[in-house]
Amino acid sequence: MIRKLALATVIVFLAATVCQEVTAQAQPATATGVTADTIVLGSSLGLTGVTADIIKPQQSAIQAYFNYVNDNGGVHGRKIKWIVYDDQFVPQRAVSNVQRLVESDKVFAVYYIGGTSTTAAAMGYIKDTKTLLLFPLALDESVFQPTIPNVFTIATPYTYQERLLVDYLVNTKHVKRFAMVYANTPGNPQAAAAASDEAKKLGADVVADVSFEGTTTDFSSVVLQLQSKNPEYVLVTSVIAPAAQLIKTAKVMGFNAMWAGPQQMVDPLITKLLGPDANGILGVSITKSVDESDPGVQHYIQILHKYFPDSPPGLFSMLAFATAELTVEALNRAGVSPTQEKVTQVLNNMKNFDTGVTAPVSFSPTNHLGINSAIMLQIQDGRAMIISK
C-alpha cells in the first residue's frame, strides 16, 4: 500500500513539475489589466476586523468617485473596474490577496492597500514583481524612502505628522510636558518615538510613554499611568475607537489634559463619539477639514452622497477620495493606450495637482511622497483650521 502511494506521489510530482514549466512560458507581454472597455484596479482592505469602521467609508468614497467617472465617459472610454478583497487587516491575508490580484485577476495596478502593516507585508512581493502600487494607506516612511520606482503614495507618514504636531505645540503653544500614548500596532511605536525625539530636541519633557495592546477593552489603567505623571498635552497614536475610549475613560476618571494626535484625532467620528468632550483636541491632517465651505470639500461630499447617501464624510474618506482622483488623473494623462510605464512616467512628472481636498500633490523621480505638508486642525464645536505648513 505504501508502495502504491509512493508511486502515485512520484508520478504526480513529476507531472506537476513538467506542466509548471510548460505553462510558465506562455505569458503575454501586453499591458495587463487593460481591455477595450475596462481598466482593472485591485485593492486589499480590512473590510471586517479592527479597521472596519474607518475603512468602509474609504471604500465608499473611492467607489463613489469611480462610479462618477464611469458615468461620465470613463477614462478615454474605458470604465474602471475596482476589485476589493478583504484582508481583515491581517498582513498574511493582504499578501495573498495581492498575489491573487496580480496573478489571478491580472490587475493593471494594485491600488490602495488599506493599512500600514498590510502594505509592509505585501511590499516584498510588490518589489519582487515590480507591480505598480498606487497610493497605499501606509503611514510609514519605508514606503517612499528609499524611493521605490513602482510605488507612489500621498500618505504623509505618522512620523512626519507627529513631528509637525510637536513643533507646533512647542513653538506656538509653548507646551513643556508631553505624554505619549499609543496602540501597540505596526507603525505607532515609531511615530510616538519620533514625536518624543522631536519634543526632547526642542527642549520639552516627555513625562510618560505608555503603550496599550490592540485588544485592550479597558483603559483605566492606561489613564492612571498617564494621570500620575501630570502632562500638559497627551499625544495619542491609535485608531479612532480606542482613542475615543481612552479619552472618554479619562474624563470619567477625572483626568483633564489636552489631547492631540495625527489625523484620526480630529476626524468627525471623534466628535460623534465624544460630543462636547472632544472640544480642544488638536490634530495634524493631510486633508482639509470636513465642515468647511470649501468648494473642493463640497464636491467630494456631493459625489459621495450621490452614490452612498449614508456614508459619513471623514478625513480618511477624503484621503481615499483624493487617491482615486489622482489615479484617474494619471490614467487620463497616460493616454489612449495606458501602460504601467506610461503611468509611472506621468506620475513622476506630476506637479501641483489639486485634488480639492488636500494640499497640492507633486511627485518626481526621486520623490514618491506626493504631499509633504499638513494642516493643523482643532475641534471647536466642529473643526477649524489653524495653520498650514
Binding site: 510530482f13 507531472a15 506537476a16 498582513p91 489571478s104 500596532t185
Partner: protein, 329 residues
C-alpha cells in the same frame, strides 16, 4: 489480546474496510496531486492552507473526537511551530531541518507541561485552561518582539527549493496530510485509540478496565500538539510573512469548530470541516459582508440537523442515493 478474538466474518470485513480506506486514500492523494496543475498561485495557496489546517484538524480530532477532551488551545502549538521554526532558522541561522526537529521537540515539551496542570480539570474548566494557553502564546509573540518581530511581524524562513515555491509548499503540506491521516487511522484502530474512546465514554469504567485516563489524555494532548506544531511549521514555510494577528486564540476555536462541525472521531469529518472553513468564505467573497453570515448559519444548521456533523450529512446523502438506486433495481 482482544484482537485475536475475532470471527472469520469480522476478519473479512475488516480487510475490506482496510482496502476501502486504501483506495480512498490513494484516490484522494492522486486527486490532490493533480489539482495544482490546473490552478494558479492563488488557488494553490488556498489548497495548501487546506492541507495544513486539515492536518491540524486530524490531529486535534484524536483529542477531541476520540478522547473526548475539549481544547481551545491548539493555536498556541500552531504558533509555536511557526515561530519556533522561523526564529531558529532566520534569527539564529540554524539549518532548516535541524530547526524543524528542535521546534518539534520544544512543542512536545510545551504540550507536556500544559497537559500536567490542565488535565487536573475537566469540561469547561479544561477548555478555559487550554484557552489560557492560547492567550499566553499570542501574548508571548508580542512580548518577545525582539525575536518574533511582534506586531510588525517577521519574514518566513526560506526552504531550499526544487521547484516553484508555492508548489513545493503545497506538496510538502499534502505529504504530511497523507502521512498524518495514515498515522491517525493506525492510532485510532490501535489499543491506544480504543483506550481513548473508553476514557471518552466513561472514565470510571475505563479505570476499572485497567486504563489510566490521565496517561491517555496526556498522550492525546501531546500527539495532537505535535500535529499542530508541524502544521505551524508548514504554515511558516508556505507564508511569506508571519505576524501575531494570525495566531489569535480565535484560531484555536476555529480548529475546534472544524473538528466538531465536520464530525467528531472521523477522518473524513476533519477534512470536511476544514474544507468548509477554508473554502466557503472564499466562494462567498462576492459579498464579503454576507460571507460570515452564511458561514455561521451553515454551522448552526449543520449541527442542528446533523449531530454527527458534516460526516453525518454526507452519510445521510449517500444512504439516500443508495436507497434510491436500490429502489430502482
Amino acid at each position: 489480546m482482544h484482537e485475536d478474538f475475532v470471527g472469520v466474518g469480522v476478519q473479512v470485513s475488516a480487510r475490506r474496510r482496510l482496502n476501502g480506506f486504501r483506495t480512498l486514500l490513494v484516490a484522494f492523494a492522486v486527486l490532490m496531486g493533480i489539482i495544482p496543475l490546473v490552478s494558479n498561485q492563488y488557488v494553490l495557496g488556498l489548497l495548501t492552507l487546506f492541507c495544513i489546517y486539515a492536518f491540524v484538524a486530524v490531529g486535534l480530532d484524536l483529542l477531541v473526537g476520540n478522547c473526548g477532551q475539549p481544547s481551545f488551545g491548539h493555536s498556541g502549538f500552531f504558533a509555536l511551530g511557526s515561530y519556533g521554526l522561523a526564529v531558529l532558522s532566520v534569527h539564529f541561522g540554524v539549518p532548516l531541518a535541524l530547526s524543524a526537529v528542535l521546534t518539534l521537540i520544544l512543542t512536545l515539551l510545551v504540550a507536556l507541561s500544559v497537559a500536567v496542570p490542565a488535565l487536573r480539570l475537566r469540561d469547561l474548566s479544561l477548555a478555559i485552561a487550554t484557552f489560557a494557553f492560547a492567550v499566553i502564546a499570542q501574548t508571548a509573540i508580542v512580548g518577545l518582539t525582539p525575536l518574533t518581530g511582534g506586531v510588525q511581524g517577521m519574514a518566513s524562513p526560506a526552504m531550499p527549493l526544487v521547484m516553484n515555491r508555492g508548489l513545493q509548499a503545497y506538496f510538502l503540506a499534502l505529504l504530511f496530510l497523507l502521512l498524518g491521516i495514515i498515522l491517525s487511522r493506525n492510532l485510532v484502530q490501535s489499543r491506544t485509540g480504543r483506550a481513548w474512546r473508553a476514557v471518552a465514554t466513561n472514565e470510571v469504567a475505563a479505570i476499572s478496565m485497567g486504563i489510566k485516563p490521565y496517561s491517555y489524555k496526556t498522550l492525546a494532548i501531546v500527539i495532537s500538539a505535535a500535529y499542530a506544531g508541524i502544521g505551524g511549521m508548514l504554515f511558516a514555510l508556505e507564508s511569506l510573512h508571519l505576524s501575531n494577528e494570525t495566531f489569535a486564540p480565535s484560531l484555536s476555536i476555529a480548529f475546534f469548530a472544524m473538528v466538531v462541525v465536520g464530525g467528531r472521531a472521523s477522518l473524513i469529518g476533519s477534512l470536511l470541516g476544514t474544507a468548509l472553513y477554508v473554502f466557503l468564505p472564499e466562494f462567498l467573497q462576492i459579498n464579503t459582508a454576507v460571507a460570515p453570515i452564511v458561514f455561521g448559519l451553515v454551522i448552526l444548521v449543520t449541527l442542528r440537523f446533523f449531530p454527527d456533523g458534516l460526516v453525518g450529512l454526507s452519510r445521510r446523502l449517500l444512504d439516500h442515493a443508495a436507497a434510491a438506486k436500490g429502489a430502482r433495481a
